[in-house]
């Protein structure tokens, strides 16, 4: 029981992660893929933050007095600040990726007039087919 309770958090996170991953690889809409990627990444952030949590702990910010001097209270338990730092970085990386992805989507839409993966693949396949017709057998056979 204790094991289950102690790991329930992680399992929830895993379910979320896999939902995100599922959206990324199963959906054909480019924007939705990016949303999925976000869900996936945010769930990973949860994994990290869960690692840092200490039962009965508090946020790793020391109390200060009015002059800004740090008060040290040995009874307070702090959660692990390191994962927080890592995740701050990771969030930034995430938004950077998202914005790039979205910028690409805007351009793709302009060039292909669609943001559905299948349509893009079809158009690319058509282009490739045309290219192969033009260039394919010009070399006297396949090999």
């Amino acid at each position: 029981m204790e094991f289950i309770l102690g790991h329930l958090n992680y399992w929830f996170v895993i379910v979320l992660m896999m939902t995100g991953l599922y959206i990324v690889i199963s959906r054909g809409n480019l924007v939705k893929k990016i949303v999925g990627l976000n869900v996936f990444q945010v769930s990973v952030f949860m994994l990290y933050i869960s690692i840092g949590k200490v039962t009965g702990g508090t946020a790793p910010i020391f109390p200060t007095d009015l002059q800004g001097k740090i008060q040290i209270d040995p009874t307070i338990v702090y959660s692990n600040p390191l994962p927080h730092v890592l995740i701050l970085t990771a969030i930034v990386v995430g938004i950077a990726t998202t914005s790039l992805g979205l910028a690409l989507i805007v351009r793709i839409r302009e060039e292909y007039n669609t943001i559905e993966e299948q349509d893009i693949l079809d158009q690319d396949a058509a282009t490739a087919h045309a290219e192969n017709l033009a260039h394919g057998d010009a070399m006297g056979g396949r090999a």
Binding site: I61, T64, L88, A103, V106
Partner: protein, 146 residues
């Protein structure tokens, strides 16, 4: 959205407050949650809001794109420059202790301050730049399509 009078008035009031809040988050990050990154985002939000309500052209008059470009590079250079300065002082890269060799934490304080400013500037610049880039494209949908 030129016709939304209330929006325009409130926006004008809000922008100042948001910028103020951004500065608070920037320089109070040592004591409470927040820091350069969050401050940068908030600062950018101020400009984005202004741009959304008054149009990109308006905000670009206040905050011209060329300045945005310079700023986003400048922030990174401030951060890395802090480290280079430490190196010039004969210490490791980003060893803020070098700013006050005899009082460790003072040096650390100034170091953190500088780099957080760098982060803030870059993040503001980048967010605004991204907004400009997206806003520079003509939307496919009108207001009422939602």
């Amino acid at each position: 959205m030129r016709h939304h009078l209330i929006l325009r008035v409130i926006t004008k009031l809000l922008v100042g407050a948001i910028i103020l809040f951004a500065f608070y988050v920037q320089f109070h990050g040592d004591f409470s949650p927040g820091g350069g990154f969050q401050a940068g985002v908030i600062m950018a939000v101020a400009f984005i809001l202004y741009g959304l309500v008054f149009g990109v052209a308006q905000v670009q008059r206040v905050f011209p794109p060329w300045l945005v470009h310079k700023l986003l590079a400048l922030g990174v250079l401030i951060y890395a420059g802090t480290g280079v300065w430490n190196m010039l002082l004969g210490y490791e890269f980003l060893h803020y202790g070098s700013f006050a060799p005899h009082h460790m934490s003072h040096g650390q304080h100034s170091g953190i301050l500088y780099v957080e400013v760098g982060v803030g500037i870059t993040v503001t610049g980048v967010m605004v730049a991204i907004f400009y880039a997206f806003a520079g494209r003509r939307p496919q949908l009108g207001d009422d399509d939602w």
